[in-house]
């Protein structure tokens, strides 16, 4: 099941690439880099989340910083 999810994620990422890549002309070099980086990051994160669903994320960091204030306001 997990590998199926990875396969699904890969397919989605491939579809995005197939949709976008031909639209980018040669002089859009920076865009291509941005696209590749973001897409790869997305793929990597998605796969990571498949295997480690409880991976601590930015929400936890924000929780740590702002929760005390939030609690303070609501007490």
């Amino acid at each position: 099941m997990k590998w199926a999810s990875v396969l699904g994620i890969t397919v989605v990422v491939m579809l995005i690439t197939l949709y976008e890549w031909p639209k980018m002309t040669k002089n859009l070099k920076k865009e291509k880099w941005a696209f590749v980086t973001l897409t790869m990051a997305g793929w990597l994160l998605a796969v990571l989340l498949v295997f480690l669903p409880s991976l601590p994320g930015p929400n936890d960091l924000i929780d740590m910083i702002f929760k005390p204030f939030g609690k303070l306001l609501q007490e």
């Binding site: 994160l45 994320g57 930015p58 924000i62 609501q74």
Partner: protein, 364 residues
């Protein structure tokens, strides 16, 4: 400029309205009720102050740096490195905010209607639709908003009118029994939502009539405030003391409609309208995110990064949020403070620095 489209100030106001109302109306009233009890209808008044401040800050900053979005003038004000760091903070915030908003929407849809549908499907479909709208540019998003806005307002009016026989006006008393504090505490969470009005700073550069931007921004804040007040009053009249016990009070109220035994079970209609409202919200925030990211990376075209960012948004909406309970705790305790910090305090800081930078040459 990265965006070639132009919108009018009125269109901006119409785009901003669902940004707050779209997700805000789903469950924020219940949280207000928890703290403000039967004064919950006063809470939007306090919360709207934050919205007015946000529009004011955005407009003043735009006056200092015309034609620039918050991403661009942050670099001018703070310097390149610090500006980039701050810009990155904004990007993370907006992708988190949009992910969180989409999660609220998806939790609502799966919670009350599509109970067996995996939430990821609900999330992915709305993000996909939003992505296509965003790829179309600011004009497309604006026109979609213009198209849905009247229907959205109409559906609200319909609920209010049809609920008339079930309203108990006495629930409003006693007014301010414990002073102003409870209503202010009830304003904390909607305040977090109102802070999202700082997003007008991304739209100001694309206005055809910038000088009207502040006026229409304020009108937008005002109409959101009125919407919240009316809906809060409505659910107070319907549910009284039990308001805070319902997760989605306005939706439950719409289910309560029954006119002559045949005009009833209107919730799918309401649901459809809310999906439309949420769609506009996510499109606008998504658009802002894409524009900001493109400017942060100095790209000349933002379209290629729409889908990758959409994909990341989906991940952010599920990352670290295993359940509705966690989602609620985050959105109603952490997010308001986070939102206020990022969307009000930092822009305020930017504005004051910009102000003093401007004055210094004059002093010399």
């Amino acid at each position: 400029m990265i965006e070639k489209g132009k919108i009018s100030a009125q269109q901006m106001a119409i785009m901003m309205y669902p940004v707050i109302v779209g997700t805000g109306i789903i469950s924020v009233p219940a949280v207000s009720a928890e703290y403000a009890k039967n004064d919950l209808w006063i809470s939007p008044l306090w919360a709207a102050l934050i919205g007015f401040v946000a529009v004011y800050i955005a407009f003043q900053l735009h006056k200092f740096y015309p034609g620039q979005t918050i991403m661009q003038y942050t670099e001018h004000i703070m310097g390149r490195t610090l500006g980039k760091i701050l810009g990155f903070l904004y990007l993370v915030f907006y992708i988190q905010m949009n992910g969180g908003g989409i999660r609220i929407y998806a939790e609502f849809v799966t919670g009350v209607l599509l109970t067996k549908t995996p939430i990821i499907v609900v999330i992915s479909t709305i993000v996909l639709v939003c992505a296509f709208a965003v790829r179309g540019g600011v004009e497309v998003v604006a026109r979609v908003a213009q198209f849905f806005f009247p229907l959205y307002v109409l559906s609200m009016v319909v609920i209010i009118v049809l609920l008339f026989p079930d309203l108990n006006y006495k629930n409003i008393f006693p007014i301010l029994a414990d002073g102003l504090i409870p209503s202010m505490r009830g304003a904390i969470v909607p305040g977090g939502w109102f802070a999202e009005f700082i997003l007008v700073s991304v739209l100001f550069p694309y206005l055809t009539n910038v000088e009207k931007g502040r006026k229409w921004g304020m009108i937008s804040v005002f109409s959101v405030m009125m919407t919240f007040m009316v809906t809060n009053l409505l659910i107070l009249f319907v549910f009284g003391e039990t308001t805070s016990r319902y997760l989605y009070p306005l939706f439950t109220a719409s289910r309560y409609i029954s006119i002559a035994d045949f005009l009833q079970k209107l919730d799918p209609v309401i649901m459809a309208m809310w999906v439309a409202g949420s769609f506009i919200k996510f499109s606008v925030v998504f658009y802002a995110l894409v524009i900001c990211t493109a400017q942060w990376l100095n790209l000349s075209n933002y379209r290629p990064i729409v889908f990758p960012l959409g994909f990341l948004t989906i991940l952010f909406s599920i990352w670290g949020v295993p359940s509705k309970m966690v989602e609620s705790e985050y959105n109603f305790i952490v997010f308001p403070v986070y939102s206020f910090f990022v969307q009000i305090l930092i822009p305020l800081l930017l504005l004051s620095i910009a102000f003093f930078r401007r004055r210094r040459p004059a002093l010399r």
